[in-house]
């Protein structure tokens, strides 16, 4: 048997009112929002609409499955936004897994050091170009001005343009600091220095930093910490639910904990083992046999399996086959 710690996450505000762990987390979040001057309270202009917002709760786990911290997030109801009124462009680049692996292969070969940072309150750094109004957050309504709304100055989670605002912001900053955007992957930035090269890969709020000179890496980290609120996670160990093991011989990438968590989540820990991902000469058909009861669950599991192929390319074909029936 395997011990997989699962803390129950509240799904709505009413469920956790009075729970001090979550109350503290929310207070902390509100302080961060205030410190960053995310919004100002204004009267809603007549021709504008204010979108809603809500709290969401998440238990963050360590690579070994133990509880890391309780995390809350204030999210805007971005689905209520209207194109052309409170948002324009939404596209935002995200690092390709191939880029990350290519960087890791070079790191392993050249013996570079591989570091990781994460940005706290990532979207709150992105400047908002559009005029967006939002209702005041639940349980934090200004008692003296309950009828005012928040005019957002910076992006908030779940706003349609939040990701774009952040990647523009960090991209601009890196370019002014002498980095060049790669044409092969817009989330890859490279800077040639007097000593060599510094490389940074951005995956939303997770940053991978490497290069042939530790001094340059150190300088970059210092700069980033000054500019944005960041956490220095040191050498890369756990990234996007992928564990990285560095040894003098090379680097291992594995998703063991991820797989175990998913097995637990779908109640499959007791299932019978098989040694091949897909039986030979089995023809699957969309038109014969009984339909799967829970199609949402099927799609979700396929999604998890696709994520598993990051470190298990040998499963790609089998996952490709099952994903043709959705």
């Amino acid at each position: 048997m395997v011990r997989v710690i699962q803390e129950v996450e509240p799904t709505c505000f009413e469920q956790m009112v009075g729970n001090s762990k979550w109350d503290n987390a929310m207070d902390e979040k509100m302080a961060a929002l205030d410190a960053n001057a995310i919004w100002e309270l204004v009267a809603l202009p007549k021709d504008k609409k204010a979108i809603g917002c809500k709290w969401v709760y998440k238990v963050k786990h360590n690579a070994d499955g133990s509880v890391n911290r309780y995390k809350t997030r204030l999210v805007a109801k971005g689905y209520a936004q209207t194109y052309g009124i409170d948002y324009e462009e939404t596209y935002s680049p995200i690092a390709k897994m191939t880029t990350i692996r290519a960087v890791i292969v070079i790191v392993a070969a050249k013996g570079w050091s591989l570091h990781q940072m994460d940005v706290k309150n990532v979207f709150l750094h992105g400047d908002l170009q559009e005029e967006v109004y939002m209702e005041q957050p639940p349980s934090y309504v200004d008692q003296t001005h309950p009828n005012l709304v928040c005019r957002l100055k910076k992006a908030l989670y779940s706003l349609k343009q939040a990701l774009r605002a952040w990647s523009n912001k960090i991209g601009e900053y890196l370019v002014t600091s002498g980095f060049q955007t790669s044409n092969a992957d817009f989330s890859l930035y490279v800077k040639k220095t007097d000593h060599g090269i510094v490389v940074i890969v951005i995956y939303v709020d997770d940053l991978i930093i490497t290069g042939d000179n530790d001094l340059d890496i150190f300088d970059l980290k210092k700069l980033l910490k000054q500019k944005f609120e960041m956490k220095d996670l040191g050498e890369l160990r756990y990234f996007l639910s992928i564990e990285g093991i560095q040894s003098p011989k090379g680097i291992w990438l594995l998703q063991r904990q991820y797989a175990l968590n998913k097995l637990f989540e779908y109640g499959m820990t007791g299932y019978k083992p098989i040694s091949i991902p897909l039986e030979q000469n089995v023809k699957l058909s969309a038109n014969e046999g009984d339909l799967v009861d829970d199609t949402i669950m099927y799609r979700r599991i396929v999604g998890r399996l696709i994520y598993m192929t990051i470190t298990r390319p040998d499963l790609s074909y089998a996952v490709g086959v099952v994903s043709q029936f959705m």
Binding site: V105, A109, W252, K283, S285, D314, S316, V319, Q324
Partner: protein
């Protein structure tokens, strides 16, 4: 004992080893990119579309790969493979760009191993062929890459065609051998304290 979730192996009692991608290549002055490409013609029984797959490695661990059902029906195996080769050529161009952006000196010449002889002949020697008329664009694209010596198609026996793993279901022996070639190996987790401690509790 092992427990398995669909297709992923997870060891639950003896959890000292786990399959993981091993990323490593020997420190050479030049990054040596090489790839394998394969297509399985009319593999899908219901719509007779083909599946193409490829993988690229810079040394031991696989960096880029794909397993994809082709969007349109191919009339011959050569045509299916041809389309696959054209996709692979695009990937080569991209990987070269990525490596040079990462400050690596790039070998201008990429070797792709391949087991369909007729496609290799066709790509290297442009003879007129009635069955290839409708795949002209793919054909010219790969021809050009070969002429300017960006890509070199080299024949490999089906036994060593590792891209097979991306186009069909394999038996256990081949699967294990190709897994190794992809750099998907068993890692000894007892090397790492925290993982071992957390999972040894029952």
């Amino acid at each position: 004992m092992k427990a398995t979730f669909g297709c992923s192996e997870v060891h639950t009692e003896v959890h000292k080893t786990y399959l993981a991608v091993w990323n490593f290549y020997e420190a050479k002055n030049q990054v040596q990119v090489h790839g394998y490409m394969d297509a399985n013609w009319a593999s899908n029984v219901s719509d007779r579309k083909s599946t193409s797959g490829f993988m690229f490695s810079f040394g031991s661990g696989v960096v880029s790969w794909s397993s994809k059902k082709q969007p349109i029906v191919a009339l011959s195996s050569t045509e299916a493979e041809y389309r696959g080769v054209a996709i692979v050529a695009c990937e080569v161009v991209w990987l070269q760009k990525l490596l040079s952006d990462l400050g690596q000196s790039v070998d201008a010449h990429v070797v792709i191993y391949y087991d369909n002889i007729s496609s290799i002949l066709l790509a290297n020697n442009p003879v007129y062929h009635a069955r290839t008329k409708h795949i002209e664009v793919h054909y010219h694209f790969i021809r050009e890459k070969i002429l300017v010596k960006e890509i070199d198609l080299i024949h490999v026996s089906t036994e060593d065609q590792v891209a097979d793993i991306f186009t069909k279901a394999l038996g256990i022996n081949k699967l294990k051998r190709f897994r190794k070639m992809l750099g998907v190996l068993e890692v000894d987790l007892s090397l790492r304290g925290n993982v071992e401690n957390s999972s040894s509790t029952s």
